[in-house]
């Protein structure tokens, strides 16, 4: 039960970070930084997908 709660919190935090990175990518003027932010979000999506039950 506690493990599920920790996993759930971690997933929620990961999804929040993904949203933050995408938001910043959407408004980023530097194409390199934009790609960097989008790919970082991709890596977190891979983690979020792994964390989902």
């Amino acid at each position: 039960m506690e493990h599920d709660q920790i996993q759930g919190d971690r997933l929620a935090r990961t999804e929040w970070l993904i949203a933050q990175l995408r938001e910043r990518a959407a408004t980023c003027a530097d194409p390199k930084e934009q790609t960097n932010l989008r790919r970082s979000a991709d890596a977190l999506i891979r983690l979020a997908t792994a964390l989902r039950p």
């Binding site: 920790i6 990961t14 999506i45 997908t49």
Partner: protein
Amino acid sequence: MSTVTDPIQAALHQHNADLFASDVVGHPPQTLVEFLARHADAALAVSGADQTAWNGQIVEAGEGILGLAHWDGTLHLDRECILEPLRELYLRAGDPQSDAALIRYREALVTILHEQSHFLGPAGATQEASRVAFKQPGSRALEEGVAEAWSHANLDDYLLDLGIDDLAPGITEVTADPSYQAFVPAVLILTADLDHRAGLPPGTALHLLNRQTAEGQWPLVVDLAYTSSPLPSVVPPDLEPAIRLSLESTLREYFADLDTLEPHPRDYAAARSRTTAHQALAHLTTEIQSIHDVFAPDPTIPDRLRPTPASRHQPSTDPFHHAFAGLAPPGRPVPSSTTPSKPTRPSANAAALPTERGA
């Protein structure tokens, strides 16, 4: 009956409907569909990995994703940044191209190679075991850093294998910068250090790690460090698994801290990534030395200054205690959750945004 007129969707539809097209297409590929059918084989060939977990399916990515190696084996690719440049590459095959166009192609191709790297593994590796391991501290930093660093280092070989250097003349003359600056610099320092410790040609550790899934990557790092150290000749065999686990835990802890750097600008993240890697390796060296001193004490040090077996179980701040904290006594099964305590150290970025790591 509807007709697919969108060329990207048509290529994906044709590819996904004919999963074994790679057996019949020409080499090198001459169309986008042929490329899609062959590109994973080329990643296997260049990497030397035993297998790929790619299930043969490719879908157009949604939700702002550029590229994603999904745990179900499906490859997700962005239309604008990956599929469209590739379609253009084959449409204009052999034509002179601007540097800007070549860089777009190169960036698309390195992203594909990066995603295919996630699918590579040794014989018998499973996506489920990899998925479980990927959630452990430090796994994501290592796997993403290895995939990105290796893909950039081996992209030209990949392009040559697929004949893309002939289709887009000059593509090997332009460069694309790596992403994941929180992870790549640390991985390059770690793998160069492992090559040096083990007396391997430069790039070998990176190449070997890229053939592993998350399940095997950290154990391989520790294997290279451990077997190239003096420890195998002094550590009793029954303690070796626990000591390897302790070394792995040390390195994982530092690499897990790299997660906090991701939201930061490239240059800042890269600098902190390098610093963290150097700290991790210094700690590794100290820990190996401490363990060695326990089993092969320096005869010039008086006995009264050496830790005794009894003192190992007392609270202590010396390196010996830290090196062995959490280890099972000899003859006992090694608990899988052993997490030795570590000396206090600064985090990679204490002021960073919250990380995705759990409590």
